[in-house]
Amino acid sequence: MDGRAFLDIAKELSQGATEGHWRTAAGRAYYALFLEGRTALARWGFQVPPPPGVHSWVRLRFVYAPDPDLKEFGNALERLGRLRNEADYALSVPGPFASPARVKRAVKDVEQNLNRLDQVEADRARLSAVIAGIRKAWP
């Protein structure tokens, strides 16, 4: 199984009827993107650290990537990570989980950013520049 499989679960949960479904969907959506990012970095030759620091480690590699699409991938990890934390820990008010709209948007956000990642990986020259740029930013 790969991280992307969590996106299908997030989609299913976002169609659910309760706040609990929508909060859980937010977590699965984040992990779909995070795990795909982590796996890509490992595939590109980076030594991935163990938890708990791996979340920020992955995000910052993308934020510093010399490619606008992957910078946006990094920003998406940031906003989805915040949404995940709110979903799991901020239970006193519904907040963005008063309706399914926000989490459906998160699912689309993940889809768009996985497409960005796929496009970069499909272009060998672009990917080489990305890897070199990340290595330069994080020697």
């Binding site: 708990p52 620091g53 979340h55 920020s56 910052l60 934020v63 510093y64 606008p68 910078k71 946006e72 990094g74 920003n75 998406a76 940031e78 906003r79 990570g81 915040r82 934390n85 907040g95 963005p96 008063a98 309706s99 399914p100 709209a101 926000r102 459906k104 948007r105 689309k108 956000d109 768009q112 930013a137």
Partner: protein, 112 residues
């Protein structure tokens, strides 16, 4: 910016004291004000802006500055405001700035 306060913009921004202090600590006041200005200009149905410090449990000790745009009307499934703001940010600022500033939208009002 070290204390809670309002920045006078067409729609005022309420800045929490710790968030303002963090901006100063980062030395990124100019970039921060540019982000507030862009938020004013780009966010439709904007009612208010709140700036707070976000303590990421995955990155302890490295709080980020979170700009939240409160908007009239309900959350919309197809809204692109956050994605568009993000695209503007990465076009406008280098990574060492982007990593410290986040943007969010919320339906309604921040309670003031």
């Amino acid at each position: 910016m070290g204390s809670t306060g309002l920045i006078q913009l067409p729609i005022p921004a309420q800045i929490a004291a710790d968030a303002g202090a963090r901006v100063v600590e980062l030395g990124m006041e100019r970039e921060f004000h540019e982000m507030l200005g862009y938020t004013q200009k780009a966010v439709l149905r904007l009612r208010s802006i709140a700036v707070t410090l976000y303590h990421d449990p995955d990155e302890p000790g490295q709080p980020r500055v979170l700009i939240t745009a409160y908007r009239a009307g309900p959350e919309l499934e197809d809204d692109r405001t956050e994605a568009d703001w993000s695209a503007w940010q990465v076009r406008t600022f280098p990574p060492h700035v982007c990593r410290w500033f986040s943007f969010d939208t919320a339906a309604g009002h921040d309670g003031r």
